[in-house]
């Protein structure tokens, strides 16, 4: 079933789920980057 065929409620729910997923992914990436920055020069050699 294509997204076009979904009823409005399912479409709205899908949009909310995508927004929530993107938000969580962004949060995880943010925490990772902040950790790398906070550790500074100590983390580089391990990569």
């Amino acid at each position: 079933m294509s997204r076009k065929d979904l009823d409005p409620a399912a479409k709205a729910r899908g949009g909310r789920n995508i927004a929530l997923g993107l938000g969580l992914a962004a949060f995880v990436i943010l925490v990772f980057v902040v950790t790398v920055v906070k550790l500074g020069g100590n983390v580089g050699p391990h990569f």
Partner: protein, 350 residues
Amino acid sequence: MARTTVLTPDEEATQEVRHARWQDYFQLMKPRVMSLVVFTALTGLLAARTPIHPLLGAVAVFCIAVGAGASGALNMWYDADIDAKMRRTRGRPVPAGLVKGEEAATLGVVLSILSVMLMGVAINWLAAGLLAFTIVFYAVVYTMWLKRWTAQNIVIGGLAGALPPAIGWAAATGHAPLNAWLMVLIIFLWTPPHFWALSLYIATDYAKAGVPMLPVVKGARETRKQVLLYSLILIPVCVAPVFTGLGGWLYLAVSGLGGLVFLTLAWRVFTSNAGDAADPRPADRDLYEVKDEAPAPATIDARSEGKKPLVGGAKNARNLFAFSILYLFALFAALLAEAVLNLPALELPL
């Protein structure tokens, strides 16, 4: 406590086909309030003039924005019954029936925890503690207690909106000295004349919702007096940063000249009859999302005491309300510009 949702038949019909989108959840976070919070927090962070990694600075401001949004969502959950009765707020997601109150509360709690924890782990725990205090103060002390209990609600509750510069400063330096609290004091003292000017021309809405705003409890005359008194205290405090090594010449010019205009407008409100009757026009559409029309001017004229044109009085209150926003923005923009351009701050002798 029971929550009521008041919808017109048209709105009920709309609910059948309108489903909550992610934008409705974003609206719960009061994005316009968030933008002002971000601006003042960023000013505090940069006015500290302490180097901070750009990413960590951005994360600090992000945490403050999310924390402000979280408290906004908690406010929208708890105040849904009040919001449903007021023209400027009844279109909000919860009273409009788009988002359940429980969802707003959950969003508020989750974002509060995330923003404070991230601030603590990524920046420092002083900034995180101040952020947590701000969220609790706004969502619990102001929203659940002060707002429905006392006419001094926005005076005391204004502390929550005033704290972001200190959080920004603490994020940059790890401590919060006098100058950080001076910025807090400016916003704290700015809040009463700002909100009371607004409440002078939408007092009927507050009365209908049972919110004990000053014009509703003490009357318009007392409110106009309090607006002038707070303005007289506010302006010297706004100029004070040039004596404490926070503001420079640019700030002195903005705070001094703007302060004179502020006092003039406050005096005009004091000598007008603003608030003696409802303003025939709705509150500013751009700022407050008014959805419908106000009563016809003839209704207002019938209640006039025949001293001064009622619209003129309301206009004075509107002018002060609008200028107060511009003044606060200009003050913090001047501090921000001086910090970014590394212009020297003044320490004028008293």
